[in-house]
Assembly symmetry: C2
Homo-oligomer: 172 residues x 2
DNA sequence: GCAAATCAGTTGTTGCGTCAACCATTGCGG
DNA sequence: CCGCAATGGTTGACGCAACAACTGATTTGC
């Protein structure tokens, strides 16, 4: 019955802060991107993933996996983005069940115009608050937690959609 | 105009993982609580906040602030919880604009039955993946970020709603 | 004291995400 | 080949959150 291992004071304190962080961060990202570019953070991630893909094209299923979305969610979002002219969808020639999505030039333009403000938000709200040591600690800690939360490591796969800025900027 | 400071490799890597964490954590918490207790994590937080309050009662506005909810959101959630008999609302005697909310015994029972499973989820998904040093680092890092994200420290105020388990368990 | 501004809370509308159901295609076993 | 399960994707219904508009109560300013 009550053999529950309750949280110690330290555990509770850290947990409270982590939960607060997880609650506030998505809203802050959405708010800035929506205000300045009319995109949710998820939509931004979708466009970014497509923009970084070879030939700017990706299968819906793979896109969903990379962006941590369910397929229905991605399908709805893709329809909206397509209606806005930011992406296009067409049937995959080799597998007629599948659908491929591509960013349009308009989508890339919007992405390019949105990126600086987004990066600035990320700096102001998170990165600039941390020392280099803390940045590395964060990398380790988040990695350890993701091992439990996302065992398949879909989100942290190579060249993740949430990377910021043009690919060239990260390849130093 | 392209004076944007793009993210370094280290910054990008840590950021990607943090975003993945923030995306996955709420869903994991909701999934377990919904399955085992029929509560969202937010509803759990509301009940917890009320349960820890003196006389298990709180003003709607204060409750909204503690749980990081807008007042409309809390109002909707409170109506549902009241319909389920988990809380009660009644006008505040001293300020006739205000409304007080109280957890019912049924609400406390549900909370008590939900807590062990929730704590177990928190351990499995997060705490048990971290060393004691990492726990302290997480506390510092999240604190630093929250200074930017939540300057008023509404969420991290004393006896926060997302603390786990009976209050006695945390007070040693 | 009374009008205007503010505060506390509720309600209605809109938009997004989840779930379940659905269709089409592909792969596989017999 | 044929039947059947599994895969890829879309659609529709429903629930929840954000935003705006509204009611009623309280404070402020003159």
């Amino acid at each position: 019955m009550s053999d529950t291992r309750w949280l110690s004071t330290e555990e509770s304190a850290a947990w409270v802060r982590l939960v607060a962080l997880a609650e506030l961060l998505p809203g802050a990202l959405d708010a800035q991107l929506l205000r300045d570019a009319g995109l949710t953070h998820f939509e931004y991630g979708v466009l970014m993933a497509l923009g970084e893909a070879p030939s700017r094209t990706m299968r819906m299923t793979e896109l969903a996996s990379r962006t941590n979305a369910t397929l229905p969610r991605l399908s709805h979002v893709a329809r909206r983005l397509e209606e806005r002219g930011l992406i296009e969808r067409f049937p995959c020639p080799t597998d007629r069940r599948a659908t491929n999505a591509t960013v349009t030039p308009a989508g890339l333009d919007l992405l390019a115009s949105a990126a600086p403000g987004h990066v600035e938000t990320v700096r102001q709200n998170v990165l600039d608050a941390l020392t280099p040591e803390q940045l590395e600690q964060l990398y380790s800690i988040a990695g350890a937690v993701l091992t439990r939360l996302d065992p398949d490591e879909r989100l942290t796969a190579t060249s993740c959609q949430f990377s910021e800025g043009p690919a060239a900027a990260r390849m130093g």
